[in-house]
C-alpha cells in the first residue's frame, strides 16, 4: 500500500472514530435522565447533619521528618503504614500512636505504600520504578532496618500506586508513570499481566492511582494524566473494559464505592465524580464552591468513602478535607477548618477497616486520625 493510500485510510478512520464518539456521547446523554443529588432530593432526603463534635481529631501521629505521601490501614487491626519523603515507611498502632516499625527505604523517593491483606507485609514504590515488599516479622539487621523481602522490577516509569488483590497475599497490582498497570506474583517476582502500554485502549499518559473492587476483585479501575479512568478485568489484559470520560484534568485518585459497583474519582480539575462501573454513567459531580481566597482551584489529591457510602472524604491541595454527603452532593463538614487540623496539603486519606475512623496524611509531616 502506498503512503498516499495509507494517508487516505488514516483520514477515513479518524472521521469514523470521531463520528462514533459523537454517537456514543449522544446515546449516553439520552440515558443520563438524572443525577444522584436530583434523584435523592426528589426522594425527600436531607443532608447528613454534622455537628462540630461528630468528627474530631483524636490522634496526631508525629514522627516523619518529611512530607507524608501515602497511607494505608490494615484490614482488621488498627495499624497504619505511612510513606514519607524522609525515605521511611512507619507502621503505627493508631490507637496508642506508637510506632511499631520504622523502615528505612533503599530509595527515599517513595510515592505509595500498602498493607498486605494479612497485615504481615507492606509494599511500597516510587521513583525507583520498583515495588519493594517488606515482611514485618523479619528480623532487623544491625542498624535496626528490616531487609526487603522482594523487589518487583519491570516498570519503565515511577510507581504511583500499589494495591494487593483482596484476600490474596501473593497478587499485587501497581500503576506507573509508564502508562501501564501490572499484576504481579509477589512470590516469584514475575509480571503476570500488563494493562495498557502496547495494547490498544490503554492509558495514553501516566497512571496515577488504582482501586480494586471489593465485591469483584477481578475488576479494578485506574486514573491517569490523560483525564480518564479505565476499567480493567484481571483476566483480560489485552484491552480496557471501559473508559470513563468527564474530568478535565489529571485524575489523581480513584476509589471504589463500598458496593464495588460504583467508584469515585478526584482530579486536578478540582472536582470529584461518581461513576457507575457497569453502565459507564457519570452519576454525580462534586464541585466545590469557588473561594475568593483561592488563587487557583485547589486540586483533589485523595478520595475515600465511609463504610456505608453515605460520606465521601476528599483531600485537597490547599489543606481542605471535605466531607461530602454522597447522595445529596453537599459538603457537610470541612475537616481542614477544625481546630487541630493539618497545616498543609492533604496528600492521602483512608478509612479504617471497620469504618469508624479516618486517617489523613499531609505535607505537614503528620498523620491525623
Amino acid at each position: 500500500m502506498s503512503v498516499a493510500e495509507l494517508k487516505e485510510k488514516h483520514a477515513a478512520a479518524t472521521a469514523t472514530v470521531n463520528s462514533l464518539r459523537e454517537r456514543l456521547k449522544q446515546r449516553r446523554q439520552l440515558l443520563l435522565d438524572t443525577d444522584v443529588a436530583t434523584y435523592t432530593k426528589n426522594q425527600g432526603r436531607s443532608p447528613v447533619n454534622f455537628s462540630a463534635t461528630d468528627l474530631v481529631c483524636c490522634r496526631t501521629l508525629q514522627g516523619h521528618t518529611g512530607k507524608v505521601y501515602a497511607l494505608d490501614w490494615t484490614p482488621e487491626k488498627n495499624w497504619i503504614v505511612s510513606a514519607s519523603q524522609d525515605g521511611r515507611l512507619i507502621v503505627w498502632n493508631a490507637l496508642t500512636s506508637q510506632k511499631t516499625h520504622a523502615i528505612k527505604l533503599l530509595c527515599p523517593w517513595v510515592m505509595t505504600c500498602v498493607f498486605a491483606p494479612n497485615g504481615q507485609s507492606v509494599a511500597c514504590g516510587g521513583l525507583d520504578s520498583a515495588c519493594s515488599v517488606f515482611n514485618l516479622s523479619s528480623q532487623s539487621d544491625r542498624d535496626g532496618n528490616i531487609p526487603v523481602s522482594r523487589i518487583l522490577t519491570g516498570h519503565k516509569g515511577y510507581i504511583s500506586c500499589c494495591q494487593y488483590v483482596p484476600d490474596q497475599e501473593t497478587r499485587l497490582i501497581t500503576s506507573s508513570g509508564d502508562q501501564t498497570c501490572v499484576l504481579w506474583d509477589v512470590t516469584t517476582g514475575q509480571r503476570i499481566s500488563i494493562f495498557g502500554g502496547e495494547f490498544p485502549s490503554g492509558h495514553t499518559a501516566d497512571v496515577l492511582s488504582l482501586s480494586i473492587s471489593s465485591t469483584n476483585p477481578n475488576m479494578f479501575v485506574s486514573g491517569s494524566c490523560d483525564s480518564t479512568v479505565r476499567l480493567w478485568d484481571l483476566r483480560i489484559a489485552s484491552r480496557a473494559v471501559r473508559t470513563y470520560h468527564g474530568h478535565d484534568g489529571d485524575v489523581n485518585a480513584v476509589r471504589f464505592f463500598p458496593d464495588g459497583l460504583r467508584f469515585g474519582s478526584g482530579s486536578d480539575d478540582g472536582t470529584c465524580r461518581l461513576f457507575d462501573m457497569r453502565t459507564g454513567h457519570q452519576l454525580q459531580v462534586y464541585a466545590r464552591q469557588p473561594d475568593r481566597n483561592d488563587d487557583e482551584i485547589p486540586t483533589v489529591t485523595s478520595v475515600a468513602f465511609s463504610i456505608s457510602g453515605r460520606l465521601m472524604f476528599s483531600g485537597y491541595s490547599n489543606g481542605d478535607c471535605y466531607v461530602w454527603d454522597t447522595l445529596v452532593a453537599e459538603v457537610v463538614q470541612n475537616l481542614g477548618t477544625l481546630q487541630n487540623s493539618h497545616e498543609g496539603r492533604i496528600s492521602c486519606l483512608g478509612l479504617s477497616g471497620d469504618g469508624s475512623a479516618l486517617c489523613t496524611g499531609s505535607y505537614d509531616k503528620n498523620l491525623k486520625v
Partner: protein, 186 residues
C-alpha cells in the same frame, strides 16, 4: 556577439526520492490503532442498547446506602450505644474534656474494654498523665501508679506537661486535681 534572450539561471537538482520507510510504518501503526479504536467504540455503542438509565443506578445507590449503618454518622443514641467501638470512646473522651485545653490522646485504660469506667472520672486526664492514686475500677491499670513524667510507662510514648501555671506554683505537681482539670499538652 549578439545576446539571444534571457539566460535561465541554473536550478539545483531535487533530491532523489528515497522511500520514507519510517513514515509509512508510523502511518500503518496509526491506522491499526484507529481500527482498534473503531472496534472498541462500536462494541461500546452496541452495549449501550442494553444499558439502563442513570436513574436506575441512582436508585440502587440510595438503596445500598440506606441498608448499611455508618459508624461515622450520628444515629439515634440507643443505636449508637449498641455499636460502640474503641474510636467512639476516644471521641467521647475528647468531647468531654473540651474545657479549653483538650487532651487529644484519649484514655488508654479502656483500650481493650470499652466500658464507661474512665468516663466516670470527674477529671478526665490521659492515663499517661499519671493521675496518681486514681485507678480505673474496671481495668487494672497498675502501670499508672508507677508512672511519672521522668520515666513514663513503657506503654506511654507521650511526656505530658501541664501548662496550667496554678498547678506548677501551688502544688508542684504536674497534675493536680484540685486546681487543674488535668489539662495537658502532649
Amino acid at each position: 556577439m549578439g545576446e539571444s534572450g534571457s539566460v535561465t539561471p541554473p536550478q539545483p537538482k531535487s533530491p532523489p526520492e528515497y522511500p520514507d520507510v519510517s513514515g509509512k510504518h508510523r502511518l500503518k501503526v496509526a491506522v491499526q490503532s484507529l481500527n482498534h479504536e473503531i472496534d472498541y467504540l462500536e462494541r461500546e455503542l452496541n452495549s449501550m442498547e442494553k444499558t439502563v438509565a442513570a436513574s436506575r443506578c441512582c436508585k440502587e445507590l440510595n438503596e445500598y446506602v440506606s441498608k448499611n449503618p455508618d459508624p461515622l454518622i450520628k444515629v439515634h443514641e440507643k443505636q449508637r450505644k449498641k455499636s460502640c467501638c474503641v474510636w467512639d470512646i476516644f471521641r467521647a473522651i475528647v468531647c468531654c474534656s473540651w474545657v479549653g485545653f483538650c487532651c487529644t490522646r484519649g484514655c488508654l485504660c479502656c483500650f481493650s474494654q470499652p466500658k464507661r469506667c474512665c468516663l466516670q472520672l470527674k477529671d478526665i486526664v490521659c492515663c499517661q498523665c499519671c493521675h496518681k492514686g486514681v485507678r480505673c475500677a474496671e481495668c487494672n491499670c497498675s502501670k499508672i501508679s508507677s508512672c511519672n513524667l521522668e520515666s513514663p510507662c513503657p506503654e506511654c510514648s507521650c511526656r505530658c506537661v501541664c501548662s496550667c501555671s496554678r498547678c506548677a506554683k501551688s502544688c508542684g505537681s504536674p497534675i493536680c486535681t484540685s486546681c487543674c482539670k488535668g489539662c495537658c499538652l502532649c
